[in-house]
């Protein structure tokens, strides 16, 4: 592409690389120092760190979706998920320790949503890395203060006769919302149902998709 052609409707500001214009912040310097010391003293290796990152990045909402779909199709598993979430996670090879998982179920009467007002606590072993908005100050402060307005901004309208229950994930538990199984999915197997379970529905800022949402 020529460098000189005109762009009446767009610009080329979106560079394919990112310039490191700013000096590293203190936290980066601290992290690098501690990491290098741990490696130098033989406590952990660079490979250990890379493998831990690999594991962290291999987790994603598809895992949570499988768990939800299993709960929708297997009443015994649903019961286990709600009463002994950590054991229910082990069935999918997920070890929550040292945290504990708390699964909260959406019903006709209650809609649950999750926030961590103090930082960004999130059920990472089940859902992976939290979305950027989950860590933002506006979501963290407004989700507890005006949850219905926040839900509306996600396109989620909760009728006034349904209770909204906000869970502040502020300490040792991590929360997963079990969304309601959408109407019109009678007879669907777990694999098909999992396609309706989104990350946002497991944080509780939306419902699961409806069959119409995934029609081609």
């Amino acid at each position: 592409m020529s460098e000189t052609h005109d762009h009446p409707t767009h610009t080329h500001d979106g560079k394919p690389i990112q310039e490191d214009a700013l000096p590293p912040i203190d936290a980066h310097v601290l992290e690098t120092s501690v990491r290098e010391l741990l490696i130098e003293k033989g406590i952990i290796s660079a490979g250990d760190i890379r493998r831990a990152i690999d594991v962290m990045e291999s987790r994603n909402p598809a895992l949570g979706a499988k768990i939800v779909a299993r709960a929708w199709t297997d009443p015994e598993y649903r019961e286990l998920l709600l009463t002994d979430s950590d054991r229910a996670m082990l069935a999918f090879g997920i070890d929550m320790r040292p945290m504990e998982l708390c699964v909260v179920e959406n019903t006709d009467e209650v809609h649950n949503m999750v926030v961590c007002t103090l930082c960004s606590c999130y059920p990472r072993p089940v859902l992976g890395i939290p979305p950027a908005w989950y860590k933002r100050r506006d979501y963290r402060s407004r989700a507890v203060r005006e949850p219905r307005a926040v839900l509306q901004e996600f396109g989620t309208e909760i009728p006034s006769n349904k209770q909204v229950r906000v869970h502040d994930s502020n300490a040792d538990l991590r929360y997963l919302v079990l969304p309601q199984r959408p109407a019109g999915t009678e007879g669907w197997d777990a694999e098909a149902l999992a396609r309706l379970v989104t990350r946002d529905s497991m944080i509780g800022v939306s419902d699961a998709l409806s069959p119409a949402d995934i029609e081609d």
Partner: protein, 94 residues
């Protein structure tokens, strides 16, 4: 360690100004809620965060608050609630 409170008990979150790694957000301090469940015994994060063992263990509870108790001008139905984890040493009977 015997938990001091049981599900259904009404509790007041202490209004205490304490610096450091405190897991009790400002917005619930001085507010009254109801114990939803006993979560268990956990090392105290206020000590753990600074390289200590976090001992002795502290009992952790989930406490349920009415939104209109937390925010006097809450804009929503009066049965909307919020649940949060509070360590025993931040609670007193209400």
């Amino acid at each position: 360690m015997e938990p001091r409170y049981k599900p259904g008990d009404r509790v007041l979150v202490l209004q205490r100004n304490q610096p450091g790694h405190v897991r009790t957000p400002m917005y619930v301090r001085g507010k009254t809620g109801v114990i939803e469940r006993i979560v268990g015994a956990f090392p105290n994060p206020e000590l753990l965060a600074y390289g200590h063992s976090g001992m002795p263990y502290k009992t952790l509870y989930r406490v349920n608050f009415r939104q209109d108790e937390l925010w006097s001008d809450y804009d929503g139905p009066s049965d909307d609630t919020l649940e949060i984890e509070i360590y025993e040493h931040w609670l007193s009977p209400a």
